[in-house]
Each structure stands twice: as structure tokens, then as C-alpha cells.
Symmetry: C2
Subunit: 468 residues, 2 copies
């Protein structure tokens, strides 16, 4: 028979079990962080009606959408628009908007949800670009209004989650779109489109450097006086170091631009940013973990207030590993209710891939904690009984049901990252004992058969304590 070459679509990240365990452990850590901070789980279908997904977008997004058709639908004509009826979600925000609008009357507001699912984008195949990737999102959605205190809670969640992930020191960068907008307005750049074009250049600061951005902004397209370009560059380079410094920086900005006091967005932005900084500290986030960064704009148009990015201090090259912000109205396409919100997203597939590239993913331990070895059929019932006890005690246990040479079984356990091997041979059982090999430490001990579970539990508990 002709074989089909087994292969996966480019742009997907398929992992071997050991890597999958590490990935799953990150997912679990993030989920637990979200839950501890009082967010509720939801899941939405991967397939949505295309008209729901594509209401507000167009251009780039639509070109990246995966449309879905069953054989029956393929055989029928597409609808009038010429595109299929269904598509795969490309983010979790549009499905959230649809979800909140659809279930509005059954939800309590502020609605705090977390959602950790795959999203799909028809990216060009390229190293490090994913067509299927996990997003781990939280959002708080208010009805009509939402206290700015929620903007300050978000960095507390980010701090808890990334501390628990234990992938190195990180900084949560804060900015405010109103402040930005007001600042540009004060410089005579009141037009939203022109602001967006300027921000697009500013966004290249980290990658291309200051000289490039200066050159671009002084170019013909922008028609900006030199002193305005200088002020923009000074503004977007502002970074704080500690809470006092952040407040000082905002005060300098305020005093240095007295004419901006007449611009409501500038005044509001300053005031919001000050309150957010104060409240983030009151949430117990250490000063070293958050800072102002007035270059942060986030590409998406719908952010209207606080915006966030997070970077690993030792790996600025990875870019932002957790981003988001405040928006005025989540679901204007689906409901007349005004639903302001604030949220963030962690792109875990990309983050995991980058950490792995940087050699920062630990894939040493299996989820399996014990291998019960098998010598010959006579001892099998005793071995099965041992395994049952261990499993009933919530100790993850595999049994070497194929049997074979003990050395081979132990080698397998060692390679698989299984820490303990239980040997219950004729001799041991006759003594009412079993032997336990600790493959990590490379030693061995014998325990009375009746104390095996207690003894292994104690060893594994030591491990837990060391890890915590």
C-alpha cells in the first residue's frame, strides 16, 4: 500500500510528550493565576459565523481568516458576499464581544472572564510565525461604566502569573492612550489618522533606533516642524524607574507643557495614569516590576485609556509577552449596551517557542512519578496491587506490563524522567518488603510493603516543598 507521509501543516507547534508536559504546566500556572484573581472560565466555539467575526475588521484580518466549509457546503454555492458562512476565530476578543452581547442578561457585571484557547490565522509560513496558537486572555467588562481600579488590578494579575511562571525578571510597562492623544493634539497633531501614522513610526523605535524614526518623522509625508519632532521623540523615550520617578516624570511632563492643560484628553490621561500607578502599588505589585513607557501605543484602534506591555528584562528581543489595555465599548457591533472593559492577552505558543529557542524550557520531569517494574508473571498480581495503592493515593504510576529485563525497565524510567522505580521481586516480597530506586538521586532503599505509599508520598512532598 502506498504510504502518506505523516506531516503537520506549517505554522503549528506540535510537541513531544516531555515538551507538552512543560507547556501544560505553563497553561496550568496561568489558569491558576487567573482563577486566584477571581476570573471565571469561558470557552467559545472555534467556528463562528463569518459575519460575526468580520463585522468590524477588514483588510489584513480578513485576508488571514480561515474559512470553514463542510463537503455539503462546498458543493452548494457560497452566500451573496461570495465567502463561506463559517470561519475560525482569529482572536478571543471578537468571540468575547459576541458572547457578552449574546448572554448579556445572564451575566453579572463587572464580568470577569478568562479564556485559554487556540486561535487561527492564515499567516505566511515562516519560522516563529504561528497559524494555530494559544491565547490566554483575561478581561473585565463593565456595563455602562467600569472603575479605573480594574486597570490597576490587571498588572497585579500579570505580576502574579509571570512570577509563578518563573521565567525571569520582567517589567510591566504602562501608558495611557488619552495622554498620548492629548500630547499630540497639544503639538498641533489633532487628526486621528495623522496620529496613527506618527505612532506607526514611533513603534519602530526599539527595532530601528532613534535616528531612523527621527528621519521618518522629519520626512515629507509628515510635514512636522523640527521642534515638534524633537518633542515627540523626547516624549516617547520617557521611561520611569520606580514609583517616585514615575510621578516625577509625569509632573515634569505636565509642567513642561502648560498649554496642554487646555486639552481634556491630556489632563484626563495624566490623572488616570497617576491613579493607576498609585493603585497598582496598593495592589502590592513591587515597584521594580512596573514602569511608565510613553512609547507604548498598541496597534489596535480600540484601546482608549490605559495600555500595557510586558517584557522579560533579560530578553528584550522577545518583545512583549503580555499586552492589552482599556477600551470604551467592547461589543458595539452586537448590542446597543455600552460595555467598557480592560484586558490582556498572553500568546503562549509564541512565548513557549521563544523560551525553548532560548533554552529556558525545562523538560526534565515526566508527569509519571513511579514505574512499577515487572520481573515475572508470578509477581504480577502483587505488582498490580501495589500500582493500585499508589494510584489510589494520587501518585502517577505506570506499570511495566510488558515485563522484560529489569535493567531495560530502569533505563526506560530514567530516560522518561520517571523519578522512582518500585521493584517487587520474589526476594523482596518474601521479606514483606519492596525496593525503591530513586533514579534522580541515583540511590535505592527498601521499605516494608505496607509503608510504600506513605514513604513515596513523603519523598514526593519533599520535592514539592523544594519547588515552591
Amino acid at each position: 500500500m502506498a504510504l502518506t507521509t505523516p506531516r503537520t501543516m506549517p505554522g503549528t507547534l506540535e510537541l513531544l510528550p516531555r515538551e507538552q508536559i512543560a507547556f501544560q504546566s505553563m497553561l496550568d500556572t496561568i489558569r491558576r493565576g487567573f482563577e486566584v484573581y477571581g476570573f471565571l472560565p469561558i470557552e467559545t466555539p472555534a467556528i463562528e459565523f463569518a459575519d460575526i467575526l468580520l463585522t468590524k475588521s477588514g483588510g489584513e484580518t480578513e485576508r488571514q481568516v480561515y474559512f470553514v466549509q463542510s463537503t455539503g457546503a462546498l458543493e452548494r454555492a457560497p452566500d451573496q458576499s461570495g465567502r463561506p458562512e463559517h470561519a475560525l476565530r482569529f482572536d478571543l476578543t471578537v468571540p468575547l464581544a459576541r458572547y457578552v452581547a449574546e448572554h448579556e442578561r445572564e451575566l453579572a457585571f463587572p464580568f470577569r472572564r478568562y479564556q485559554m484557547q487556540h486561535v487561527y490565522r492564515g499567516e505566511r509560513a515562516q519560522r516563529g510565525r504561528f497559524r494555530e496558537f494559544y491565547q490566554c486572555d483575561i478581561d473585565v467588562i463593565g456595563k455602562d461604566s467600569l472603575s479605573i481600579r480594574y486597570d490597576a488590578e490587571i498588572p497585579a494579575v500579570i505580576h502574579a502569573v509571570f512570577s509563578a511562571l518563573d521565567i525571569g525578571a520582567f517589567t510591566i510597562w504602562l501608558n495611557n492612550r488619552k495622554l498620548m492623544r492629548g500630547f499630540f493634539e497639544g503639538l498641533g497633531i489633532g487628526d486621528g489618522e495623522k496620529q496613527a501614522l506618527v505612532l506607526r513610526e514611533v513603534d519602530k523605535l526599539d527595532k530601528r533606533g532613534i535616528t531612523y524614526v527621527q528621519g521618518a518623522l522629519c520626512g515629507e509625508g509628515f510635514d512636522l516642524p523640527n521642534h515638534v519632532v524633537a518633542e515627540i521623540l523626547a516624549f516617547v523615550q520617557l521611561r520611569s524607574n520606580g514609583l517616585d520617578d514615575a510621578h516625577r516624570l509625569l509632573e515634569t511632563l505636565e509642567k513642561g507643557n502648560p498649554s496642554h492643560q487646555a486639552i481634556p484628553a491630556f489632563v484626563e490621561g495624566l490623572s488616570e495614569l497617576r491613579e493607576v500607578l498609585e493603585t497598582v502599588a496598593a495592589f502590592g505589585v513591587p515597584e521594580s516590576a512596573f514602569a511608565l513607557n510613553l512609547s507604548i501605543a498598541r496597534g489596535l484602534d480600540y484601546y482608549t485609556g490605559t495600555v500595557y506591555e510586558t517584557t522579560l528584562n533579560a530578553h528584550p528581543d522577545i518583545g512583549s509577552i503580555c499586552s492589552g489595555g482599556r477600551y470604551d465599548n467592547l461589543a458595539a457591533n452586537y448590542t446597543k449596551s455600552t460595555l467598557p472593559g480592560v484586558g490582556i492577552s498572553i500568546g503562549l505558543t509564541r512565548l513557549f517557542w521563544q523560551l525553548r529557542e532560548a533554552g529556558l524550557v525545562k523538560t526534565t520531569d515526566s508527569t509519571v512519578q513511579v514505574l512499577v517494574t515487572q520481573m515475572d508473571a508470578t509477581q504480577m498480581p502483587a505488582c498490580l496491587a501495589i500500582a493500585k495503592e499508589l494510584r489510589d493515593a494520587d501518585i502517577a504510576t505506570e506499570i511495566a506490563l510488558e515485563g522484560g529485563k529489569l535493567g531495560k525497565q530502569l533505563k526506560y524510567a530514567d530516560r522518561a524522567g520517571i523519578r522512582f522505580a518500585v521493584v517487587a521481586g520474589e526476594d523482596e516480597l518474601a521479606r514483606g518488603a519492596v525496593a525503591v530506586k530513586d533514579l534522580r538521586r541515583g540511590d535505592q532503599f527498601e521499605v516494608p510493603r505496607a509503608e510504600l505509599v506513605k514513604s513515596l508520598r513523603a519523598e514526593l512532598a519533599k520535592d514539592e516543598v523544594q519547588r515552591a
Copy 2:
């Protein structure tokens, strides 16, 4: 602006947060069961190459496949076969086969994997039929051979998982395809296709009753003598009650059909079934939880030995909630290696939906355990500090950051299924204390501020003990 009606594709199960918590809890329980029994996690991409997914199938499966195309691909011509290049997985077995063949050299055999992901089928929209649903699968894959002991371990996993799910008493039904095949051969029905047709009628036994099946088998299409029909009906109605009864029943079958002793499949099937029964008991599965049911064939052609179904004793109408079996060669389409295996699948979305229909899903508790209430801005820093302590102690905590009337906040907590509300008002804080309302028990107590975490931990631990 014209609104788009928020709605989901028919055939998807979208849950409110309280239901999602119950669903997630079932997923977690199943996953923990799989891990404790030594299975390793994998995930595969939802989108696969269509030629990979559709190698062996045809007909019904292909008609139900969802094809996937990005806008760019839609604009290009489809490939020669006239169908798109990519499609969504319709089960987890074909992706497993592809995975094992693709990563064969990097995996250790027997390869024990669990996988819990959505699958997609273009079913006709109908109540209780799902186009997107979770499958929770385990399989053990051997290289060249796989001990029949693994066939006996599977019911041990099923027993552990469904006991932990706590959805009522259940029975794991066992049969063996070789025994069936040999029995039919012994009756002169040696042709595989004819056997399949007979089995299709037999499969209707539960739904249509014995008279219907008898009528069908005596009909013209089958051309079977009456005594053969009688023997088939007697065979497929065999059910055991306890281990001794199962062995007695197999002995009666053996003795009652002396001429079948010349048929290898019959002899092997009997021997395998006996060994599986013995070993399932040795794994510690109680006799009341498993039984023979010689009507079980499982539709899929690729099962070749042991087959399983599981039913809830109080809800036979729900049908099998966990099914599977032994197969000779998993990945013949993708590799020349012989990979025998045994596995089962739980269709969790359908099961959850049916349990919910039967009123068996508990959606009382939120994942949030504590609401820290807010009275006025003065106490806010104290409240944020309390919340931080609780969260650092892994107690899931929400803060009523919007403030408002205390009564309204308590009502929210009660409705949301949050058990405790912490009230840290001016009076309490002045006394160095906080008030805790237990909304489940409907009482209230005051604790010293410094002992809040300890006290709540103790209350929550009591809860854990009660549940376990």
C-alpha cells in the same frame, strides 16, 4: 450602526461561566485520572492536511469533514482532487496515528498518551448532535506487539475516572471481536461483509428489541436458517453478573459449541476474554463494575480484539459514555511499522449535555472563594492588602472594586456562588478585625485581621474534606 445578531453556529455547546466551571471540573478529573494511570499528554493541531485525514476513510466521514481555507487559498484553484488542502480533525485517532508515525523514533514504546481536545464534524444541526465536541482519549501503542495486559488496564482507568466523576454507578461491558468473528464463522457466516450486516442488525437490539432483530435476520436478505438466527440471538443476549458468572458463561459457550473448537478466532477470543477478565480483577476493579456483553461490536472496522462500552446503570438511555477497543495496526497509512494498540474515548461534550438534560450537573459553586467587599475609598488600601494576602495564599478572591451598597455586594456574592464575603469596614479595622460572612451557611464571624488567611484556609479545608 446596524447591529449583527450575536449567535453561535448550531451544534456547538457554549456554556455560561457556572456551567463552564462544572465542565472544566469534569475535564480536570478525567485528566488527573489519565495522569495517575501513567498516560502522557499530547496535543495535535486542529487543522491537518486533508490527505492525512482522509487516507483510509471515505463516504460518511468525508462528507462530515470541515475543510479549511484562508482567503488566499480560496482565491487560488483547489488541488487536482478538487478539494481544499486542509481540514479540521474529526477524531483524535487519525491524528494520533499520524503523530506516532511522524515521531516514531522519538517516542518510547509502549507509548501511553492521553489527548483531550475538540473534534469537528459537519453533522446536520439537530438537538443533542454536536459539530464541535471534546474527545478525551487514551491509547497504549506498542511496537510490533502489545501485551494483552494493557487491554485489562483500560477498564481500571475507566473505573477510576468514572468513580471520580461521581455521576452514578456504571458498568464497563467487555467483549472480544475474535470471539464474535469465530462464533459467526462456526455458524457458517464466514464472510466478513455478511458478518458486518448481521452485526448492524444486532446493534439495534437495545433500541428496537428482540422481535425486530429476529425479524430482520430471518428476512430474505440474510438467508439464515431459523436455528442459526436463534443461536445468534442467544449469543448476543449473553450478559454476565460477577466474575464467576462471566467465567461460567464462557465455559457454557465453549462446551455448547464443540465444533467451534476448530476455529482459531473462536479459541483465541475465548482465551483473550478470560485473561482480560482475570486481569481486570487483579487490577482491583470491583466485580460489580465490569461484565461481559456479547452484543458489543463497536461500529468501527479496525477493532480486532477486546472491545469496551460503558453505561450508567441508572441511565441506560444515554447509551455508551466511554468506548473503545484493541486494534492490530494503528498507522498502516503512514508507516511500515506495525503498531498495535488499545484505547478508549470519552465524548465529554455529549456526556455533559446529557447529564445536564437529566439534571445531574451541579453548578452551585463558583471558582471564586472569597469576595472582598468595599465600603468607601478610605478602606480601599486595607481591602487591597487583604485581597493580596488571600491571593498569595492561593485563595481565589474577587474584590468589589466598584464599591456600592454592602447589601448589593453580598447579594452578588451569594448569587455568584462565592462562599465567603470579607467585610473590612472602619469599625472592624479599628478593632484590628475583619468580619467574614459565610453565605452558604448564612452566618457570620469576626476574626483578628492577622488571622484571616489562617481562618479561611481552615474553613475551606473542611470543605475539601467533606467533598472527598
